[in-house]
Symmetry: D2
Subunit: 220 residues, 4 copies
């Protein structure tokens, strides 16, 4: 089977990543979302480690900046409006709001602190990327269907080319993983495999959207 | 059977709609997305007419403003960046960018013209709502998983209470309908039935999220 | 005699206008601000006509888009927060919110409607300019010290090169004209003469900031 | 003499500061702008110390939050677009980007880091203030005609009531001080004396704009 008729109205072309214009955004790989004792844990983050590390290593090798997009809620606000809907998490300065050690963030990596799901909402991310002359973004992390997706939305709206390595992302359930990746592939950017991003960064391989299978899920 | 463990970290409470602080946002109910000959048609918009009309009528009766959120692309731009991903649609001033007659938009209704999927992205929607002292939004239209959802994201980020009547929304496929409504119910606002919104607007009925069924779809 | 010590910390270089990347922003040349019977009239707009027309004509000849930035206040808002400070003006759709006939706006010129002093604040101006691949802006109109200046601020913050032809702008008083132009020349862009812009657009003349006179005013 | 005819179209009323809805924004009182050896020093910051300290002390006594708005430029960007116009200053993490010790900032005070002149431009300031339920802002610092003024612009656009204690601000020259305060008083908010703010915070004194003298400068 194929893509649905509405989503099929795509303009699609293969893209090459230019290391001089590309950045990697790692979204919310934080203790509170990944580690035992975290405020809001997504089980099984370990499966993301190999794909994420491979993309990060390829980026560093290619001179592509790695930017940590970090949920961080100021404390002592009278009414953090995100907490009207979600339970408190990622308090500014706490262990929960730190990037997991597994990914070996470096001191001189850029960090962007966000207060809502999107890395762009009332942060300096767009300004900083434009001051870096970045036009292409590789975006992954957790959770696919909320913070990764929200960041992908705003990246596309702001005119960046977006690439999402699907095996470097985890959603709250399999349906949500498939559905958000489908929406991203049809409306926001390219959904690919981490191995493809590695080749694109290190060997100039062109990227195309993965084929969409008969169950509307992605297959490679 | 139940909500997934990550999404379950919700703060939830019933809400009442205050007509003096509520607005209805009707998203992209336009010829190009609904009518034969449109540039990007979602089949079956007719099934939305009764639910949408009932909410719009209840809003007008309660003195709640109805705001038409309208995709409208300026023509003659060198490079409309949405069209790098999607085929052209909703040209400014064209039949395709007009609200469908079925919903009987009125001349003095507010119209907000958007250039990306979200009704808030680089438009005057937030400014206008705040100048109207609106804090609660009923949001519906097409398609659930792209433009409705993108508008819901930004509404929540900007601090509005969001209510989505699910039967007044249509997605590109059943899985995407279920998945986006699930994400909205767990992370952005309330998913309800249109009949509930009508009662909330006309008879002060309180609103709560619909139960989440064993297949992670919504049931009433 | 010279620039003050703080403002002197400038990075300055001559710039050439590339017609393919330049747009002209005409700010608030509206009946309400210019014509007898307007809601908030600045006396003497007539003196601006020759300089403004010459820049507009040169722009049209060079294929540079002319964009009308238009103050336009939606009516019926509960509390237009600009009107908490200023008396009402430029009602949407009214004569007062129309560009003066003297400048012969054309139907297919772009128009951007703003609700605050800055042409960028919660409008689609930045999005539209970036979809046009514009990086350089010639900005003028009324009043120099409020709406022109506010637009210049945001243009600079968003990364555009800004050129202000001083004789195409009028302020609320001579001191305000001199002071805002001084601030623009030292912190936001270039202040030049209209004739210089005409030559830059039609004969590739390079532009530099005007000399700053001994009284901290601009002299040519 | 009086206010000019254009600026005279004001809606004016006395305002009372509600400590529960007020915040103090201290703009750019940083080593690089104040102290010997700073990158861009405004001579004479010492004269601001008594007025600023008195407002800060009154705010702390009234339970009003003091927020430090801090210019802070990320290092290593390919092209910080502010530095295309101004010489480099306030490097992130450096001595130059620290609040001067004279004002005794406290560890648990809020700090907002900005990359352009305005404290609101692509920062979390508006989001944070709204999560604090703040609607009134007392704004002061250096320099009146650039960073203070730019912050005042955006505060007004976003709907805050703005109060500027003039003797707690310094401009790049006397004309710029007078001119920016004039523009603020006529178009953006109230210009008052620090002593008035102290009384407003501690003794509920109502605030009104200072009289505008015959030379269009402010007199008390």
């Amino acid at each position: 089977m194929t893509i649905d008729p509405f989503s099929a109205h795509r303009s699609e072309s293969a893209i090459a990543l230019d290391p001089a214009q590309t950045a990697v955004l790692v979204v919310d790989m934080l203790n509170d979302f990944c580690k035992p004792g975290g405020a809001m844990v997504l089980p099984g983050y370990e499966t993301l480690m190999d794909p994420q590390r491979s993309v990060i290593a390829a980026a560093r090798e290619a001179g592509v900046p790695v930017i940590w997009v970090i949920d961080s809620h100021r404390t002592g606000l009278r009414r953090d409006r995100e907490f009207l809907k979600r339970t408190p998490h990622c308090a500014e300065g706490s262990w929960g709001a730190q990037v997991i050690d597994d990914l070996a963030p470096q001191d001189d990596d850029l960090r962007v602190y966000k207060h809502r799901y999107s890395g762009f909402f009332q942060t300096d991310l767009d300004l900083t990327l434009k001051d870096m002359e970045i036009t292409q973004l590789v975006i992954f992390g957790v959770v696919t269907n909320i913070c990764v997706r929200s960041t992908v939305h705003d990246a596309f709206f702001n005119g960046y080319q977006v690439v999402v390595p699907q095996d470097a992302c985890a959603a709250t359930s399999p349906r949500e993983q498939a559905s958000s990746l489908y929406d991203i592939a049809t409306h926001f950017g390219l959904v690919v495999a981490s191995a493809d991003v590695v080749e694109a960064l290190t060997a100039q391989r062109q990227l195309t959207n993965m084929a969409i299978g008969s169950d509307l899920e992605f297959v490679s």
